[in-house]
Each structure stands twice: as C-alpha cells, then as structure tokens.
Amino acid sequence: MLMLPELIVVVTAFALLVVDLLVSERRKPILPMIALAGIAAALVAAWMLPQSGQLLGGRFAVDSVSRWFRIIFLIAGGLTIAVSADSLNGRGAFRPAALSSRAEFCLILLFNLAGMLFLAGARDLVTLYVSLELATIPLFLLAAWRRDVESSEAGLKYVILGALGSAFLLYGLGVLYGLTGEMRLEAMSGALRAGPAFWLGVGMVVAGVGFKLTLVPFHLWAADVYQGAPTQVTAYLSVASKGAGLALLFHVLYRILAPLAPHWDGVIAVLAALTMTVGNFAAIVQKNIKRLMAFSAISQAGYLLLGFLGHDGAPGRGVAAMLFYLLVYVVTNLAAFAVIIWYSGETGREKIEDYRGLSKTHPLMALAMMVALFGLAGIPPLAGFVGKFFLFSVASKAGLHWLVGLAAINSTVSLYYYLGIVRRMYIEPAGAEDRAVRVSPMLATVLAITTLASVILGVVPVFFETISFQTADWLKGTLW
C-alpha cells in the first residue's frame, strides 16, 4: 500500500501504451488527460497514505519528509503534463514547437516521475542509485525530444555531462560503501567515521548531487540544456529534476551523514552562496527567456540549499522550510513556464524582448507572468517571499548572517532581471506585428491554479504549518 502512488504512476504509464494502440488518432488527445488523471490519483494516494511506514524489510520507506517530496514531485509532474498537453496534441500555432509521440512522451515522463518517487522512498544505496538513474536518464531523451538541432544538441550535452556526473556519484557511493560495508543508509550512517577517504566519497557524491541540483560549479550544463530542450521539458527539468536532486541530497546529508552534521554547514553555505550569486549575475545579461529561467533556476537551487543549514537545535526547521519553498518554487516556476510555453508555442518567439506589450495584448497572461516572476523574486505577499524568508531564517539560526545578507541581496539582483521582463510586458509598447493569440482552457486552468496557489501558499499558513508540524514529528524520532 505504501508504494501505491508509485504503482499508480507506473500502471498509468503502461495503460497509456495500451490506450495509444487502441484509440483512433482523433481521440488521442485523451492520452495526456489519462496521464494527468493517473498523477492525480497518485497524488490523492500519497496524501491519504499513512505518514510513515516501510516495505520490503526497510528497503523502501515513507516518512513525512519523503511523503512531502512525493507530493511535490507529483504536483510538478502533473503540472508539466498539463502545460505540455497542448503542444503534445499539436494545438500550438507554431508548428516546430509541437511535441511528437505523445504516448511515448507521457510514458517516459511518468517512468521518470516514478523514478523520483522511488528515490524519495529509497533506503539503500542500490535502490537509490537505480531510482536516481531512472529519474535522470529518460530526461536525456526528453531533452532531445524535439529532435531539431538545438534539442538534440541539448540532449548530447545533457547525456555526456549526466554520465560524467553519474560516474562521479557512483564512485563516491562506492567509497562510502567501502568505508562501511553496508548498503542500507541507516546502517551506513551508524558506521561512518570521518577520514580522508570519507571526504573523497562525500565530495564526489556531493558533486554528483550538485550536477542534478545545478550547484555552482557543477551547473554549467544547465543553461545550454534548458535553452535547447523543448520548453515543456525545461520546465520539468527546472522543478522536478531539481526536486529529485534535493531529495537525493536530503538522503545523503540526513540519512547517511547525519552523525557528521556539524561538519557540513560551511560547505553547504559556500555552495549556496556561490550558486545563488553566479546564477543571478549570469541571468542579468541573458536575452533568451529560457536561458534566463535556467540561470534563475540555478540561483533558486542556491536558496533551497539554505534549508540544509542549521544542524544544531532543529534541523527539521530547515527541512520544513526547504520543502515548503520547493513546493512554492514548483508552483511558481511552472506558472512562469506555462506562460513561456504558451507564448513560444503560439509564436515561436523566445527572446525576452518578444514579450513587449504583452500587458496590452494579453493582460491576464501578463498578470500571471508578473505574479509568477515576483513570486520567484520573493516579493510579498506571494508565497515566494514567505518561503525565502523561512529559508533565510534557517541560515540566520545557524548564525550565518553574512549568508542571509548575500541571499537577500541576491534576491534583489534577481528582481532586476525579473523586472526586466515585467518592464517589457508592462512598460514597453507592443510592436505592430504583435497580435493576440489563443489561450487554451487547459493553460488558463493551470495558470489560474498556480497563480492562486502562489498567493495562497504565502498567506494561508496551513500548508507551511502542516509541513512544519509533520517534519517536526519526523525529527522527534531519530533522523529516520
């Protein structure tokens, strides 16, 4: 039962294959809806299931943290399918942006999603590694999915660097295994002692995770891949893949390295500082909106990292803040991407300056975009502000006031480029050739939900309080 969400996702994926064979071409737009329904069902299952428990003799387990990771992954996956549905069904006016092979696309996405879900529940190195690869390798394919020059180049870069990262991670995991002789995370945690080889292992594992999380200096792939990949995939990469990286880092830091917690604050702080600074400053000179969002996503990873600080006292606080911000980030970032997907899908234009006058031609879309961007920048009363504030408070509690300052300054820097888009949309006049384009009901729904959510999450405390309460519960036991 505990594995129900994962199973639902996998079964839905197989069901898609079957349905694809059975229904006529005209009816195929139903496929993304089936996927969506499956994810919704899984989401319900993940929500309803008990908050903790284990299966397979402890090789797979759920606790409140994994549970929230699963919920967030499912939301991310569901929203991605929802925003991709139009292009998968060939609705966009700009043909080259359409995505072919909708059944296969959904299937791979669902398998990938299942990989992430398993990753959250994995409790031994083998499962961890395999589910991580399941959550990674299909993404290479998705990045190349459009099969044009850019898309396949993105795929190439992703696959080569992904393999490099995977190799480093593997080697590092090997070293950790060698130091403990154990595969189960709990047992490893008990047996680990600091030493040179230990640091070798940790360093390589963190590098591997850093690749997934786009931490500086392991982030260089992100911009090119995000730019080249189909926008839907970029959206997915920027939220789900990052979430998976976070889940992995959580495993590594809290499940494997827990006894050595006091050692990691400095390193995490430096990585976070580097990541947010580099991401933000690189973003301010971008002209392509997807590339800009790539750097923005990099910087957001830096903020998320703050949640791992503050070992003494209450690590759960940090985790709660991190989970909450991840949720907020998923919703907000996908809202922004929904607009980008819609706009590039309809017009094929991806430059920031192409957004000029959007508030005139599509006031509501511009509003949604602005809310999303402000959410990402952390402007109250949007959830982005609240989430960031909580993360900053973690760093502050850890005594890293300089990092809080840097992070807050970075928030302001990020506002510079977000405002750059807002400026195009609201201040600059529309070009003569800019005309109104269609907005599909699906997209409108997604935008309505995400925009609303990005406000409600910040104003209504129940979401954060629940996460906080439950992760605190998790703390009360051991770190398990």
């Binding site: 996998v10 397979l56 003799g57 402890g58 090789r59 797979f60 043909r95 080259p96 072919s100 092979s101 296969e104 299937l107 791979i108 398998f111 990938n112 299942a114 990989g115 398993f118 994995a122 031994d124 083998v126 499962t127 590694y129 395999v130 589910s131 690869e133 399941l134 390798i137 299909p138 394919l141 998705l142 190349a144 999915w145 099969r147 044009d148 020059v149 396949s152 795929g155 060698g178 130091l179 403990t180 002789g181 154990e182 047996a191 030493g195 040179p196 080889a197 230990f198 640091w199 070798l200």
Partner: protein, 179 residues
C-alpha cells in the same frame, strides 16, 4: 602460497594491461581501435572480477558489456560516417585541462586511499555460491533483498528503449528535420 604468488603476478600483469588499454581507449585517434581497446579493458575487468571472487559478475561483464555494449558502440561508429573513423586531435588546452583535472583526481583519490585504512567490517565467507546468493537477493522481498531496484532497472531499460526508438527513427512526420 604459490597460488597466491601467482594471483599476485596476475594482478599486476592484468592491471598493467588494463591501464594500457584504457589509455589506448582514450587517446587512440582511430575510433575502432579505441573500441577494441575498450573491449580489452572490459575483458580484463572480467578477469579482475574473477580474482575478486565474483565469477557470476565476470560472466555478466563479458556478456553484457563486452558483448552488448561494445558491439552497440561499434555499430554506432559504423552508422556515422567513415570520415569520423579518424578523430581530430583535441586542442592542447582541452588536453591540458583534462590531464590536470584527472591527475589531480588520481592524486587526491590515491592519497585519500593511502591515508585511510579499509578494514574488514563484516567478516565471514559465503556459505553458498555467490551466484546463488545474487540470484536469491535479487528476488528477495525481505530486508536483504534487491527486488525493487531489479524492477526499477527494467522500467529504466524500457523507457530508454521506447525513447531511443522515438528519437532515433527517421522522419516520423514531415517537416521535423527540415531545419
């Protein structure tokens, strides 16, 4: 005693061969030659597995790796063009950077290993053959089993297969490759 001496000799010989072939794999400008060298590295690895008492793994290595993967690589080489068979030299800067990084890695890793002591943490020996044990563990649903990753890897392979086909097939619809 003698057996151990022999295995020591084997180790060094195979290690030397393995490293030499590995170097050949990465620096040979003829891609097919590199493929052959890689095959050699993987084969010596199989021998290493045997030395490490992992006979089943050695078999898998030969079958899957040497048999499957390398053939796939060679096939891929053939699919592309003959002019690609001989590779251009990478730029000096690139080689310098790569050499520096990998040397640094090796020094760091070897240094770390030298500075650490790996002791036997879970002593003992298997009572059954390794192969049996591996088979049992892969299907075991209990606390020692790996049935979950076993299932997951099948999902991975399936998705890769389907995705690979989608990506690699020619001209699925019109206009796709226009650019």
């Amino acid at each position: 005693m003698n057996g151990q001496a022999a295995s020591t000799v084997f180790f060094y010989v195979f290690a030397a061969v393995s490293v030499a072939l590995a170097v050949a794999t990465v620096i040979s400008r003829r891609i097919l030659r590199a493929a052959v060298a890689l095959m050699g590295v993987l084969a010596t690895s199989a021998a290493f597995y045997v030395m490490l008492d992992a006979e089943f793994l050695a078999g898998v290595q030969i079958l899957v790796y040497v048999g499957g993967i390398v053939i796939l690589l060679v096939y891929a080489v053939m699919l592309t063009r003959s002019s690609e068979l001989i590779e251009d030299r990478p730029s000096g800067r690139r080689r310098g950077a790569a050499l520096a990084v990998s040397t640094l890695f090796f020094v760091a890793a070897a240094g770390a290993f030298v500075a650490s002591r790996f002791e036997t943490l879970r002593p003992g020996a298997l009572t059954v053959s390794g192969t049996t044990e591996i088979g049992r563990r892969l299907l075991d649903q209990g606390s020692t089993g790996y049935v979950l990753p076993f299932e997951l890897i099948s999902l991975l392979l399936l998705s890769v297969l389907i995705g690979g086909v989608v990506i690699a097939r020619t001209n699925p619809d019109k206009g796709e490759d226009a650019k």
